[in-house]
Symmetry: D2
Subunit: 366 residues, 4 copies
Amino acid sequence: MPMARVHRIATTGPDDVSGLKALIAAGGVDPKGIVAILGKTEGNGCVNDFTCAFAVSELKRLMSDHLPAQEAAKIAYVMSGGTEGALSPHILVFERDDTDGPGPALAIGGAITPDIAPQDIGTQAQIETVAAGVRTAMQAAGISDPAHVHFVQIKCPLLTADRIAAAEAQGHATATRDTLKSMGLSRGASALGVALALGEIDPAGIANAKIGTDTALWSSRASTSAGVELMGHEIVVMGMSDHWAGDLIIDHAVMQDGIDTDPVRAALHRLGIDTAGQVPADQRQNIVALLAKADPGSTGQTRGLRHTMLDDSDLSATRHARAFTGGALAALTGRTDLFISGGAEHQGPDGGGPVAIIAKRQGAAA
Amino acid sequence: MPMARVHRIATTGPDDVSGLKALIAAGGVDPKGIVAILGKTEGNGCVNDFTCAFAVSELKRLMSDHLPAQEAAKIAYVMSGGTEGALSPHILVFERDDTDGPGPALAIGGAITPDIAPQDIGTQAQIETVAAGVRTAMQAAGISDPAHVHFVQIKCPLLTADRIAAAEAQGHATATRDTLKSMGLSRGASALGVALALGEIDPAGIANAKIGTDTALWSSRASTSAGVELMGHEIVVMGMSDHWAGDLIIDHAVMQDGIDTDPVRAALHRLGIDTAGQVPADQRQNIVALLAKADPGSTGQTRGLRHTMLDDSDLSATRHARAFTGGALAALTGRTDLFISGGAEHQGPDGGGPVAIIAKRQGAAA
Amino acid sequence: MPMARVHRIATTGPDDVSGLKALIAAGGVDPKGIVAILGKTEGNGCVNDFTCAFAVSELKRLMSDHLPAQEAAKIAYVMSGGTEGALSPHILVFERDDTDGPGPALAIGGAITPDIAPQDIGTQAQIETVAAGVRTAMQAAGISDPAHVHFVQIKCPLLTADRIAAAEAQGHATATRDTLKSMGLSRGASALGVALALGEIDPAGIANAKIGTDTALWSSRASTSAGVELMGHEIVVMGMSDHWAGDLIIDHAVMQDGIDTDPVRAALHRLGIDTAGQVPADQRQNIVALLAKADPGSTGQTRGLRHTMLDDSDLSATRHARAFTGGALAALTGRTDLFISGGAEHQGPDGGGPVAIIAKRQGAAA
Amino acid sequence: MPMARVHRIATTGPDDVSGLKALIAAGGVDPKGIVAILGKTEGNGCVNDFTCAFAVSELKRLMSDHLPAQEAAKIAYVMSGGTEGALSPHILVFERDDTDGPGPALAIGGAITPDIAPQDIGTQAQIETVAAGVRTAMQAAGISDPAHVHFVQIKCPLLTADRIAAAEAQGHATATRDTLKSMGLSRGASALGVALALGEIDPAGIANAKIGTDTALWSSRASTSAGVELMGHEIVVMGMSDHWAGDLIIDHAVMQDGIDTDPVRAALHRLGIDTAGQVPADQRQNIVALLAKADPGSTGQTRGLRHTMLDDSDLSATRHARAFTGGALAALTGRTDLFISGGAEHQGPDGGGPVAIIAKRQGAAA
């Protein structure tokens, strides 16, 4: 039976692939089994964050040293910029291996969509492209029931001044001419694509005008991140499957706002981790990965109190939110190498977001 | 017997004094009893943060409408810039009132030191000026035993290009010519002044060269904040005193790093607040004020993992740290109107910091 | 006959009114004659720039010490945030005095419009409010022919999260929910108000949808600046009038892009200033004030070459543009105390902007 | 005789090598002759600017497709981050070709120094390493008289938190523990290395304590830029040599402050370019490259007027200065694809900096 393995590797910079290289050399990971590489890099996570593209460039070069071009091209690279506060840059390598049963266990599957045109970013066309991609990735993970999907991580494109100009030169209007805003629209449309594929929203209720505005539409399991380095979508589905085996399990929670950690505490508890206070040192290694979205929300308030994230012209609200919710989740788990990604449009309720935790099964060898 | 009252008032901007004005008008606070006004404003908390000065200017104007100049001048105004993440701008008005006993209860006392010269910022001269001020403020609070002091909040000066030039024009060298760095040196020297006054460090162990560098020297109860709007120090001492009465009590904790919330959890517990998980909604009002320091530390790591706060030239490390530890403490308490101040040089261990909590006494009317 | 005097006073911070105070004390300016105070402060010039409000608060306090409330309220305070690069913070005090003829000479007139509602910001309602205000200010300046108007400086309001929420609570939609974007819409609508009043655009050609988008609509003499500190408009008209006398004259130019300094050079030449190379040291004092707009434009290019201002999520494009065009104009004039304001929506052609120069008349005593 | 050719190629992002690739494919440049590639990328030019390393990585990969490893390794890659304002990202490819005489003409030569240890950054050891490298590069350029050297461009290393920790782990103290400050010390020491090699300073007058502090020590032709991507130095010397031929010539100027463009105007004039006003459109192509340093200086003033670059904690002074002086030089030349690099410690007088211009010889075919 297939078995998922997840390798968490600290990096010393966006282009640092030495850890993965050493692990491959030591036989700790088999390049042929790598389905996806997720990573947090130390850029600003906004329009001019080139650290994601840099990381992907170096990772692809490394993988092409170990795999035929055709196979290397199937790996999804989902880098997310922004390690504000004490969050720590790292990569998560998702490997598909084999083992004896029984299941269920963590299952993973990836898909890469075709490139879309600049004018399709932030529109229904993007929603549908992503929904199709999610279905493909679910098949790859061997998950048929959307209820068994616990997280869908997507890297999606954004508009730059150049791309807007290119679209306009061909007579097309883009969804926005504001490059930073395009990131939000792309993340939002991608999240709605997940919601559509998982049956969380009614297809009839989707319209271009609702993208980025109707906060009642959201997915409880989408996590999308926009980057300048691609025009398609890199999709990774994670869930539990009876057809997979191994020591890893996954669960998820939804935070209602940026400090709503009790649902995450409950999910950790369900995964067998002690959460009276901060997760104690001897159990932190059982948290193999925590993936979450952080978002300032659109109201300018948290629990009725004003915050200043949306009025800060020196520092983008996504950076604020990542640092803040990063602190909340790091204090809960005792770990700082968390995959916290900013911009949660249509990912969880307004101002909140989904959180997935991959853990070692209770009683598994450390 | 004297009784401390603490009014927490949300603000809509640095110059918003309407809440305090209304409270005075409604008889909720007596201007004559105001000892200190602490506040979090939404500036960057760095050299060019004029929001603190703006707040102080407007608050002073308001108080001068209600008090003779001589009395108004005795109030300490300790504004701290930076409400990153979902932290919420607010002021804390510390009032001295009277009530029947018995004690002990929260006691407060303020002091304002003379201005120091630019070349004294970040030196032993500043340490001694502050230590004298802390002793004066302890007397004002009626606390003689340093063990009963739980927090000392100080607003201290910083260097600007103009002040450096002025010192140099007179033949004096300043401790640094880097204005941002001067904030750290001033905060550090002020914290060592607290440590000296509270007997936390050996007077013989102090030297100019250790200010800002010797992380083994620290106070467990100092919180210092640098601002462009003053050249002296505004000092507020808070502690427990048998000679004070009322419903408010105070305790403190020391975080070892930016996510070390368990000591704070323990302090909340000692104050009678339920901390299984996030503080529940019905108990959050019992947390009258939380005052804490956040700091990136000097090692570039948290619990052995690299962070990027010290290498980020777009965003000062103090803003990073405030957002991150702000998230940690907001998730613990369920509140975002916390007084979290950046730059914890010599305030708690390297990368950590002191936290004080003022709470309603168990069983006191809400 | 009325005579305009312009006092340029360097400031040491946003709240520094000591220079003006000293000038009043020395009899150098008569508070009763002050029509307007323009100023460049060192904030970011964006949503959370409180330096303008701080400056206005302190200036108003100073003026209220010298004038009855009713007269003090007639002064227009037009602070503009952002002194990037080596631009130097300063204020320009416009005074109306008397002298013998003959004219023509610099004429000035101010007006303050009523507050507008948040939902009117960036709409035709704002355009009309401003146009009416400009006509009032022209009357105050004694200028009837729009061709004699050389500059109209306006401080206009912006949206904050709070103001948006207030409008929405009453069932109104604001022109945008993006606070930074609201500054551009407000500046643009205000500029179109100037264009309307000066006959530069066809009233029939105005529509809400064109505000901020139709770059073919612009005023050659509008300079508008948005600030958080007001909800109305402070308007100052400057021009040449036969009915005014004195040593000061004014002319203007339009830059086609951020480095198009030759039209400004020509204007300086018309004003009698030597411009073979940088304005020589002995003639720089004849430039009493230079007021200009800087803007990144909407195309992402200057003269066919890509720039990165619109894709920079760390630094707002307005700050980039102010620094860059500030350098261009400072190198031309040899002065850094220029009033360069960012955000030139509908002020000059896309990417360019108007420039006005007030100079001492050739042969006037220095 | 050797002939220098300089190809200026616009880029669409830090990793865009498509222009150079196309030029090679079209036979426009011979990879074997490439001596150095200089480039301006759109990062922040500070500690966490990964755009330079990204550009170098992609350029090296491209060159390794065309050259044996040994030859590819000899090329100097000198990327400089920061295209503030309307400055335009581009690369400058310096090629050594052959032609018939006569000379003199532009001569170029490169050298790469060995890596230095973190603790040597900002010390005399670095000065000497660089001086030796400059001498090697002069030999490579066939220039023996330092008077014929017009520019020395150097990419030098900086300290990161990791590098500081590594040095300290071995018992070494680094020159500073402030990573941003380390960039200035490295640039300064490298510039003094140039000054030493060119005989501009007295070897006896050098001391560690003067690096970064003694503004009287400077080179009129050094331009140094620090980057995270190397621990050695990449050096390119440019000058005039009788032994070189071709259509390109070079001259230089020294700006006394950030707007001191008249010396540059004079240099352009010496090179045969019309500078009555902005360089006219038909002559702009004759400016093949302009390389300059921009710096805020240490005094906080320009021509006696306060600026705010050194007090701005939101935006580093180097970014301010690059934008501002970039505007000054772009307005002079009419071009925005200028190589303007920040941080001019010991490069020109305090607050000013050297400028080199490579031009087509008067009468040469365009």
